[in-house]
Subunit: 333 residues, 2 copies
């Protein structure tokens, strides 16, 4: 049908219809306190804006103002567990309360520099990275130079110029491995998802587990796996050869998959092999055997939103508590 793109309605159109100047329209629609407008013309303007269906042009506005109310969250949706995705939605509403518009961008760029430049083009007020890697020094430079006021990240350690919520994936690996070792396990496997985008979380966890092995008599083996039935089944069928007696399964979803195929392959859990997951999803407690897992205590969305607001407005914010991993012991390990 492609009706000819009727030129979008601007504040000039509203002004013409209301019979006033464009400035007056702006004063009315923004409730500018510094200028008095008679009740009569105010009504005329509002009526005109309404009948024309006027919507301000965010680009024009932010060009003039030199800032906008965008908060950019670079993150692949499919890489978020249930935990994080719920948290992200909450953050959206919290930020809206402050007048910000949060947007997610899931773009996968080959080059991290390209990614940073793409984000910088939007000139968001803030960038909040949910993985530890995408906000590296170079990216920080690009974003700062583009005038982004607030940078925040979940990262294993503070980055210069970035307000970090410390989240040490390494600690997660340490915690899992320590528990397995404490249960008397010595040959520990760490499941590494093949799905792209997850390596950033998985690698440090593996490293953490390795560090535990280094100071005990245990060994750690890397176990690659895809989140498909076929890949998991193949893994389970060759299980005996690996000779593992403990596994840290990246997260509860991979753990659930693993439990299912191990059961089908006749491998006993926790008898033959102990399994630890991560995230403490609703379903973790309902697995049989009930899944031992690691819960992550993330600072509330409201708190993070407040910190972002402070960061944008004043340039500093009260430090946020770290993400604390806590082992939840059940039956599987």
């Amino acid at each position: 049908m492609a009706r000819k793109a009727a030129a979008a309605v601007t504040s000039a159109d509203v002004a013409r219809l209301a019979g006033v100047s464009r400035a007056t329209v702006s004063f009315v629609l923004n409730n500018t306190q510094a200028h008095r407008v008679s009740e009569a013309t105010r009504a005329k303007v509002l009526a005109a804006a309404d009948t024309l269906g006027y919507v301000p042009h965010a680009a024009a506005r932010s060009l003039r103002a030199g800032r906008n109310n965008l908060v950019l969250i670079p993150a692949a949706v499919s890489a978020m567990g249930r935990l994080v995705s719920g948290w992200t939605d909450d953050l959206h509403t919290e930020l809206e309360r402050y007048g910000y518009t949060a947007v997610l961008h899931a773009g996968r760029f080959s080059d991290p520099g390209t990614a940073a430049r793409a984000w910088a083009e939007l000139r968001p007020g803030a960038v909040l990275a949910l993985d530890g890697t995408s906000l590296d020094g170079a990216a920080v430079n690009v974003l700062r130079r583009a005038g982004v006021r607030a940078l925040m990240a979940l990262a294993p350690q503070p980055v210069e110029g970035v307000c970090t919520v410390v989240f040490d994936d390494r600690r997660v690996g340490v915690l899992a491995a320590e528990h397995l070792v404490a249960q008397g396990r010595r040959r520990i496997g760490v499941v590494m998802p093949r799905e792209r985008g997850l390596a950033a979380f998985a690698e440090p966890r593996l490293a953490g587990a390795r560090s535990v092995a280094a100071r005990t008599t245990a060994t750690v083996a890397r176990v690659d796996m895809e989140y498909t039935h076929a890949s998991a089944a193949e893994l389970a069928n060759g299980w005996a050869e690996r000779g593992l007696d403990g596994v840290f399964a990246y997260n509860d979803e991979y753990a659930a998959l693993l439990l299912a195929v191990l059961r089908d392959a006749g491998v006993g859990v926790p008898g033959d092999v102990a399994v630890v997951g991560c995230d403490d999803l609703v379903t973790a407690a309902l697995q049989r055997p009930a899944l031992t897992t690691i819960r992550l205590e993330v600072p509330s969305a409201a708190r993070v939103a407040a910190a972002l607001h402070d960061l944008i407005e004043t340039g500093t914010a009260a430090p946020l508590p770290a993400v604390e991993p806590v082992l939840v012991r059940r039956e599987s390990a």
Copy 2:
């Protein structure tokens, strides 16, 4: 640390450093074919842009051009199942191939009109709604008037002025109910998630199931449930009173939760009650009993991206195939 926000670098800065006019900078950086620039100055400009770390200002650019390369996808992240979230990520990369920047916006607005206006402010080139309700007639009007060129939606039936991928949630309910009835079940429960944002999908499914009941001897009861262990367990404990012999569980995740609590409560599946899920997740086949579910064949992300591109450029696009629900029969029903 709050280093004083060093004014962002503009193309004028680049021009000054390179000793040329701003226009020349623009010609070089955009590879404008219509204008010839000597190799020497081209190099100077590129060098200057590089040392300054220049990044164009998307707002200014789109203001001038009258259009931008944004594709807005309004959708709550937590409401997406694994199926859709993977698809969304793919769509991001496909759209990037055409030069578009896709962004997700998860804002929950009380008023749908407010939502449409918030999207319109960004003046995206396209809006792709993943639920059937958010792009209603009013929203279409607002967006069209704001100059949004392409509107696309997954919706139960074509909406005037919107390129729809027909996805009839009602059909899903019909399919599930028909299967249960064919298995001899007569008292069917439909699990309705209490989580906000899911009603848009759940209600039509319930309606579909009801329509099947209306033309058979079966009855359909609404079963509200939250995605928590507590809520599910409460449901399972009072199961006998409900007297249901078949359940359609909204999706595979709710189904998995339900299977677990029913098992704990000693209710036999499929003996006492047959259970049907939806989405055909990886874990569905691994439940015990293996979950009978409904798979949704969604048009490929590449295809949708191409259609969006056509829609933005030419105003029309070849119609996309509908999302086809297919029953995958396993053990649970």
